[in-house]
């Protein structure tokens, strides 16, 4: 009886998905890449991951204590932010710089703008860009197998040969979580199967980027070059895990496609014409900032709505 006559305001039909459940899926999806990163780069990568997560969780807890807000630690979003940030850090970064990154991500990018759901850019990427500008030397020092060397992307930019197979598996220099394309794709497929993300943003992103490379990359139809560009740097991690962030991507389907095109073009511009070999994180946070404008112009028509006649001037 009580079920039948339950009176409440809408929504009346509830899904079992909650914020913490989705965040948990994202964490599970990131595990293969994290574990590969730890195996690939050694114990310091594990330390960095733990320290970054701890820093994010602690700063969220302390901030909410100070401003007397209800604790939102249970939604696990701080853990996801910390994990994503750690996966975007080079494995040799001093731990205290990672702590600063975590505090910046949570306090400045997320909490000061109103907490989860209000942040205007992806907190993990905002913090990564902050660290990249703040500690440029440490953030661009990539060590693999004890040798400090260029990332495959930088080698590619200098016209050197790269081994695409190594890049797929992840046996290359890079940030902790970005090197192994296979591990990232395993996580991405898991997220797609669980319905957490769809292919609209990553798909348009990657297709636009490939078209941009074909047109302006200067290598023509050199598939080796294109696959290497796709697998190199943070593109895969960014496309599947950061561009698809619910808060900082458009909610309208048309808007998501425009967002993906923006990402592809910006990444292409940064990588081909920019000063650095990598540009995914800047492309994503720049597109994040464009999201309100994109959404404004792609508001879908409600059922039965007639286009408003132009007013006579």
């Amino acid at each position: 009886m009580s079920d039948l006559y339950h009176v409440s305001s809408s929504p009346h039909v509830r899904d079992k998905d909650t914020t913490s459940r989705i965040m948990l899926y994202v964490i599970i999806a990131l595990l293969p890449a994290s574990i590969f990163g730890i195996v690939n780069f050694g114990l310091h990568a594990l330390v960095l991951i733990l320290v970054t997560i701890a820093s994010c969780v602690a700063s969220e807890w302390i901030f909410e204590k100070i401003v007397h807000k209800k604790s939102t630690l249970n939604d696990l979003s701080a853990v996801v932010t910390g994990l994503l940030l750690a996966l975007n850090l080079p494995p040799t970064l001093p731990w205290w710089e990672a702590v600063i990154g975590g505090v910046f991500a949570i306090v400045i990018v997320k909490m000061l703008f109103g907490g989860l759901g209000q942040n205007f850019m992806n907190p993990a990427l905002g913090a990564r860009c902050f660290l990249l500008i703040a500690f440029a030397a440490d953030m661009t020092k990539f060590t693999f197998d004890g040798v400090t060397g260029a990332t495959p992307l930088a080698q590619l930019r200098n016209g050197e040969e790269v081994n695409v197979m190594d890049m797929l598996i992840g046996r290359t220099a890079g940030t902790i979580g970005e090197t192994s394309v296979i591990c990232i794709l395993i996580g991405a497929i898991f997220l797609i199967l669980m319905g957490v993300i769809d292919l609209r943003i990553p798909g348009t992103y990657i297709i636009t980027f490939v078209i941009f490379l074909l047109l302006f990359g200067g290598h023509g139809f050199d598939w080796n070059y294109i696959v290497a560009e796709l697998c190199g740097g943070g593109l895969m991690l960014g496309a599947f895990f950061m561009a698809t962030d619910y808060v900082t991507s458009p909610i309208t389907p048309k808007g998501q496609i425009i967002f993906g095109i923006c990402l592809g073009v910006l990444t292409g511009l940064f990588r081909v014409f920019g000063a650095n070999a990598e540009g995914v994180s800047f492309a994503i946070i720049l597109s994040n900032v464009l999201v309100p404008i994109i959404e404004k112009f792609t508001v879908p028509k409600a059922f039965g709505q007639v286009k408003e006649a132009k007013k006579n001037e």
Binding site: P94, I108, I133, A134, F135, D138
Partner: protein
């Protein structure tokens, strides 16, 4: 004399141009990469501000209302040229590091704002003190932003290495443009916390006038402002 002290207090604390009125943001963000630069910019602006307030107040009955803006600009530009030449002669390195921002003092909002809203309506002595107060307020603002940025971004205070580079990695973002916005935002937030605390104690700092309250009549930029509310525009 009490009124003059009130002017000083008003400029440095109550209506601090940097932290409360938010005027002159362009030099505030651009030149404060070190405390010395902030101090130099603040003091040169103060000198121009005192002299321009003095002259504009002295000529306030002579200048026709219709051409007051060009007249103010001529006065301020002459003073800035003098200051620029003096700085080039005696502090060439500071002059080089402040660069184009010294000539740009001509169009500094604070100077035109004080000319329009205070010096053109008040006698000479209070106008001078208004210039001192506002100028020192600006200097305090710029120097404190410069101090924080220099300390975090280079580990230095007024050019002296206080944090040894052996263990300190400079957070270079703070001497670059984004750091200026971050530090300014945090200092303004700190200022607002102090205001709130004083209000809670029953000693409220009077609210600033101008754009923050929608009171266009007392605002120096009123003549040029395009973002006014319709009601106040009608009364112009």
């Amino acid at each position: 004399m009490n009124k003059n002290v009130e002017r000083l207090y008003n400029g440095i604390i109550k209506e601090n141009p940097t932290f409360v009125l938010m005027l002159g943001m362009c030099p505030t963000l651009a030149v404060t990469s070190s405390a010395i630069n902030g101090l130099g910019m603040g003091l040169s602006t103060t000198v121009v501000l005192i002299l321009s307030n003095l002259l504009i107040s002295a000529f306030r009955k002579v200048i026709p209302n219709g051409v007051r803006m060009p007249a103010y600009i001529v006065i301020v530009a002459s003073l800035v040229t003098v200051v620029q030449f003096i700085m080039e002669a005696y502090t060439p390195s500071l002059s080089a590091s402040l660069g184009v921002y010294i000539p740009l003092i001509v169009v500094n909002c604070i100077i035109l704002g004080r000319a329009e809203s205070y010096a053109s309506k008040n006698p000479i002595v209070p106008s001078i003190f208004d210039g001192i107060g506002m100028g020192l307020g600006f200097t305090v603002g710029l120097t404190s932003i410069g101090l924080v940025r220099e300390f975090l971004g280079a580990g230095q205070l007024f050019g002296f290495q206080v944090l040894s580079l052996d263990w300190f990695t400079p957070i270079t973002i703070f001497v670059m443009a984004p750091g200026a916005f971050l530090v300014l935002a945090f200092l303004v937030a700190g200022m607002n916390i102090i205001r709130k605390k004083m209000e809670a104690k029953g000693k409220p700092l009077p609210a600033p006038s101008g754009c923050l309250t929608g009171d266009c009549a007392s605002c120096g930029q009123s003549a040029m402002c395009t973002g006014k509310k319709p009601e106040s525009a009608k009364t112009e």
